[in-house]
Amino acid sequence: MNDVVLEVEHLVKRYGDGPVVVDDVSFRVRRGRTTALVGESGAGKSTIGGIVTGLQTATSGRVAVCGEDRTRVARSARERRRRGAQLQLVPQDPATTLDRSQRIGDALAEAVALGGTPRTDRLPRVEELATQVGLGPTHLELTPRSLSGGQRQRVAIARALATSPEVIVLDEAVSALDVSVQAQVLNVLNALQRDLGTAYLFITHDLAVVRQVAHDVVVLRHGRVVEHGAVEQVLGDPQDDYTRLLLDSTPRPGWRPVALV
């Protein structure tokens, strides 16, 4: 049981008197494995991401990371840092995922410093991180403006890795990238998982991407889980009509679009 790094139980989110956007969602992410949250807009997947990362609060339900309950907001600086060392976030939009006026090296050093690394030992660690995501020392001198979208997402991944977290939440982290660049970043993510054993909570709308990274899949619709299981099972032999519809709607070689009637 202790290989579960992220546990979400009966999560519910409702904004005021509005509709329930997350409705009794439960799933787990195991050490060194990837769980994908997949669904269309309004499925509640990003809200779940927000709650798991502590950026939003749940209406009810429980979130535990490495066995520690996260339902309430971190109070002390120490608690914040410990949580940061457990779970990290890579956001979607490469244009705004980094502070535009901060050099890449400084951004990474700032993240490394959180782990209490002494000033003198930071640079080697920063360079190591850059190498891990396929960037060179020259990139460290640049500001985000001089980097391509793919390079920026690599920096965001390196920044997330800086605290050596058990689990990284990737919120549509490759969705805004060109196909060839997306493939590069997916390769980097898979290689990192093999080397470091980091677990991913991968939020995406793209089933093809899910197939490449995930071990487990949670299919969401209107805030509810419609299907949940191993990736081969869910994508290979979907049990739910909606999962099947999603699959049928995803373009692939030889695909034809079908009207919903």
Binding site: G150, A208, R256
Partner: protein, 315 residues
């Protein structure tokens, strides 16, 4: 048959920035052509040049003909008539449809402006909206754009274009902003209507599989140039140009997990960052020195028209 749209050796510069270099394309009446490329490839600007929706700083060379009109030289009334014969669908209907008027006012605006029967236009619009899969279109017509979802609004946009029965439909990533299930629905319905009407289509998209699904032929663009044009089926199974192959390979497959997705290093470049040769040269696994200095003319290889020095070896 003579081409409805003929683009010959088109170049485009915005100020000092090169955008397109020697783009040639042809679309026959009723035919669907997909233009596929990654960001910076120039695919959208090619479409905009055909519609003459270019900023003031644009300078063009070469020729674009639609029917018997030379599009690049058109002005005033003639330009308006040219545009009226086209139907253009943008990626984001929320910014493409004026937010302050009702959907109904938007749909009948053209008839009203031309002094035609607005009641007839309204009926026409309702018919097309229903065909586009919209339930209760009467109510939708009374609503404002912000009250409709992106999927519904794009149906409105497409209906507004199709109800005018254009000869040539131009679509710039029309379904990219939509959810996949909505995308499939909108694509299927639009495709059906278009074929019925016999309108030609130029579809700009980043998704090769999607383009293959609804287009007869596909042009692959990179760095402001067309590198390969081929029938959709040919491109899927027997792509020739190394870039097309790299693009096909890097699309993650849905049916199996790869340890490593085969992918060319680096990222796509816009025309401004390319030299005189092939724009793909820096990322190409089979590049020769000559590839950096000159891009060859189009050559017919099988059913594909390809611009590559290595066609013989690769094919």
């Amino acid at each position: 048959m003579t081409a409805l749209l003929q683009v010959d050796d088109l170049t485009l510069d915005l100020g000092d920035t090169p955008i397109l270099r020697g783009v040639s394309l042809a679309v026959r009446p009723g035919e669907a052509l997909g233009i596929v490329g990654e960001s910076g490839s120039g695919k959208s600007m090619t479409l905009r040049t055909v519609a003459r929706l270019l900023p003031d700083s644009a300078r063009t060379g070469g020729a674009v003909r639609v029917g018997d009109r030379d599009v690049l030289g058109l002005r005033g009334r003639e330009l308006r008539e040219h545009r009226r014969g086209l139907g253009m669908v943008f990626q984001d209907p929320r910014s493409a449809i004026n937010p302050v008027h009702t959907v109904g006012a938007f749909l009948v605006e053209r008839a009203r402006d031309a002094g035609q029967d607005t009641a007839a236009a309204r009926e026409q619009a309702l018919t097309v909206l229903r065909r586009m899969g919209m339930t209760d279109p009467e109510r939708r017509m009374r609503q404002h754009p912000f009250e409709l979802s992106g999927g519904l609004l794009q149906r409105v946009m497409i209906a507004s274009v199709l109800m005018e029965r254009p000869r040539l439909l131009l679509a710039d990533e029309p379904t990219t902003a939509l959810d996949v299930t909505t995308q499939a629905d909108v694509l299927a319905l639009t495709d059906e209507l278009r074929r019925e009407m016999g309108a030609a289509l130029v579809l700009v998209t980043h998704d090769l599989d999607l383009a293959s699904a609804v287009c007869d032929r596909i042009a692959v663009m990179y760095g402001g140039r067309v590198l390969e044009t081929a029938p959709a089926a040919t491109l899927r199974d027997d792509a020739v140009h190394p870039y097309t192959r790299a693009l096909l390979a890097s699309r993650p497959p849905l049916d199996q997990r790869l340890t490593e997705i085969p992918v060319a290093p680096g990222s796509p470049v816009p025309a401004a960052q390319t030299g005189p040769g092939c724009p793909f040269v820096d990322r190409c696994p089979v590049a020769l020195p000559i590839c950096g200095s000159a891009l060859p003319e189009e050559r017919l290889v099988g059913a594909s028209r390809v611009r590559c020095h290595r066609v013989e070896e690769v094919a």
